[in-house]
């Protein structure tokens, strides 16, 4: 539905968006994820019409939107600061956009009531924005931006101002509302957990470029670069050189005198090419004796244990000096824990647990 073709945006010497080409589908919940300053907000503001690309075109539903001013676009935005009008009540805030459309009065009433119901704000309709709590303001902002039936709703760090618990509840509410309304949502966030929770597809950005676009599970399981692997969640990186030994199958030598690691990886590598094995801590098992059937097993010494309640993260030092994190669920009480500091343990994982990435 939305198509960016070779879009570049420059501010003086600074390139905020660098020759970017992406597509966003209809009814999708699309997340733009990246550190601050990566260009995600600029991208969104171009969709809203507050910025124009220096080069390239943006198509919305087949139409080039460059000449369309913000007030004529079927795109609405929910601002990071919510930008509620302080001099208007909740009801008038939601009705604001509808009144500009010269909608008949009783239609406005119906639509506002509908939005109030959807966001569970019925009893606050007469209040002013400063008379309601942060979570309620967030819902007013959402209701106001959805009221005009936009083809596309932009959400700029919508949950940034809420505390953690409220944020998690609101994430599910957002998904619910997105499903009910069938609107295409594009969300900008720097919180990877938020992006993973709400979005159907996540685009990871860095320095004005899209690094990877994929579903949350693919982003997590098969990142296409060290940057993405490192940005999303926790990851162990082991350096080595690749040696193909079958289709998509490699033996990675990583330390002299140790057996090469067996890896299955979709990314192609040539013989002797430098690479990094990225493997998630929860996919590394920890045991006192060497497991017989594991594809890969290395020995190490426990340096640190982080107890997080439901799980524990063990920091294990390998003979190379590298530290590998392994996570284990605490299925037994802490007093019965099998390992402690300075224990020598075996770490093991399967050939398909990790992914090989170019250096």
């Amino acid at each position: 539905m939305i198509h960016f073709q070779n879009v570049t945006k420059r501010y003086g010497d600074f390139t905020a968006i660098d020759d970017l080409t992406i597509g966003i589908y209809e009814k999708e919940f699309y997340a733009l994820l990246g550190p601050s300053g990566c260009g995600k907000t600029t991208l969104m503001r171009m969709l809203a019409g507050f910025e124009t690309p220096s080069e390239g075109t943006i198509h919305l539903a087949g139409q080039d939107i460059a000449p369309v001013p913000p007030n004529k676009r079927a795109v609405n935005m929910m601002f990071q600061s919510y930008a509620l009008f302080p001099h208007l009540s909740v009801w008038e805030n939601i009705a604001f956009g509808l009144k500009r459309e010269k909608m008949p009065k009783h239609d406005i009433n119906d639509r506002v009531e509908e939005m109030l119901r959807l966001t569970r704000l019925e009893q606050f309709a007469r209040r002013k924005p400063h008379q309601i709590s942060g979570g309620q303001r967030q819902r007013v902002a959402l209701a106001r931006s959805l009221a005009k039936h936009p083809k596309l709703l932009l959400l700029d760090e919508p949950l940034g101002a809420l505390d953690k618990k409220l944020r998690q509840e609101t994430q599910f509410e957002l998904m619910d509302i997105q499903e009910k309304t069938g609107t295409t949502f594009v969300i900008v966030t720097h919180d990877q957990e938020e992006a993973m929770t709400v979005a159907s597809r996540v685009a990871v950005m860095d320095h004005g470029k899209i690094i990877q676009v994929a579903t949350p599970d693919r982003i997590y399981e098969t990142p296409n670069s060290v940057y993405v692997a490192d940005f999303i969640g926790d990851v162990n990186l082991i350096e080595g050189t690749a040696k193909p030994n079958g289709s998509d199958s490699y033996a990675m030598s990583w330390h002299e005198g140790h057996e090469p690691l067996a890896v299955q990886s979709p990314n192609g590598f040539s013989d002797g090419q430098k690479c990094q094995l990225a493997i998630r801590p929860e996919k590394v098992s920890i045991s006192a004796v060497k497991p017989e059937t594991a594809d890969n097993a290395v020995q190490g010494k426990i340096l640190d244990i982080a107890y997080l309640g439901n799980i524990s993260t063990y920091h294990v030092e390998l003979p190379t000096g590298a530290v590998i994190k392994a996570q284990a669920a605490n299925t037994r009480r802490i007093a019965r824990r099998a390992f402690t500091w300075e224990d020598t343990v075996w770490l093991s994982w399967t050939a398909t647990a990790g992914v090989l990435l170019a250096d």
């Binding site: 913000p70 007030n71 004529k72 930008a83 604001f96 956009g97 500009r100 209040r127 002013k128 106001r144």
Partner: protein
């Protein structure tokens, strides 16, 4: 209530005495029976009655109010526009120069402002009267308005205007429906400032007024040169009363508004 130390009490008394004794004397002598300003001869309100009969004073008062209303209104419109452009216009050519120049009339000696306006009016052959005083007062009051309004605009959350545009407003609708109502308090206090400045002004008005139009300060000044009369005292007392009532009302209204907003915010947090 804490008791003040003797030092604080004395300095407070002296300070307020210094500020208010002249005015108190003026008010007291406005109720003096005698025609002699410095000799007390019993309480009377006859000078107020006589003041109401004095055509010249009443005319001057009417001119002053007309000038103040017109000039402060025009100054508020122009000053608000100027502030908006200077704060929101982005970095256009000469922006720094313009924003510096808007402050210049604030520090310019009034005599010079008055003289230059006089020269201008003579130069273009404009007859001096109410119209020229309005123009002159608009010129200098506009700067005050724009300073007051731009200090409000600097702290104004820009995304509010973007939200208005996003919801279908044109730029002018966004200004009218969102920006203006929110900055209204600053615009109103700008208007009040301009109004008071115009009401008080003697120097610029005396340069730009003509024989057909005399403002109250000019009238008082020229009357005093012929000797202080109890009538003038009465007139001044009335002006003091008006200003006092205005200031007290304004501060009460703001105070109550702040208290109300605080209370509502507390409620919101509790809910």
């Amino acid at each position: 209530m804490k008791r003040l130390s003797w030092f604080n009490a004395v300095s407070l008394t002296l300070g307020f005495a210094f500020l208010y004794i002249p005015m108190v004397i003026l008010v007291i002598f406005s109720f003096n029976e005698s025609k002699l300003v410095t000799v007390w001869a019993g309480f009377s309100t006859k000078w107020y009655g006589e003041l109401m009969q004095n055509e010249a004073f009443l005319n001057a008062a009417w001119v002053t109010i007309k000038v103040a209303v017109f000039s402060s209104t025009i100054a508020t419109v122009l000053g608000t526009i100027a502030a908006y452009v200077l704060v929101r216009g982005g970095r256009f050519m000469g922006r720094t120069l313009f924003s510096g120049m808007i402050y210049a009339p604030l520090v310019m000696p009034e005599v010079i402002t008055g003289l230059s306006l006089l020269l201008l009016f003579i130069g273009i052959g404009l007859d001096r009267g109410v119209f020229t005083i309005v123009l002159a007062h608009t010129t200098f009051a506009m700067c005050y308005v724009s300073v007051v309004v731009s200090s409000r605009l600097v702290t104004f959350d820009r995304s509010l205007e973007e939200a208005a545009l996003d919801l279908g407003c044109s730029a002018s609708e966004a200004f009218r429906l969102v920006t203006l109502p929110i900055i209204a308090p600053a615009v109103i206090s700008g208007w009040l400032l301009a109004f008071t400045l115009s009401l008080d002004d003697l120097v610029i008005a005396s340069f730009t007024s003509g024989p057909s139009a005399t403002t109250l300060p000019i009238k008082i000044f020229s009357a005093v040169r012929l000797g202080v009369s109890p009538e003038i005292n009465a007139l001044s007392t009335i002006m003091i009363a008006i200003v006092t009532v205005g200031v007290i009302t304004a501060s009460l209204v703001t105070k109550r508004q702040v208290a109300k907003q605080k209370r509502e915010e507390m409620e919101a947090v509790r809910n």
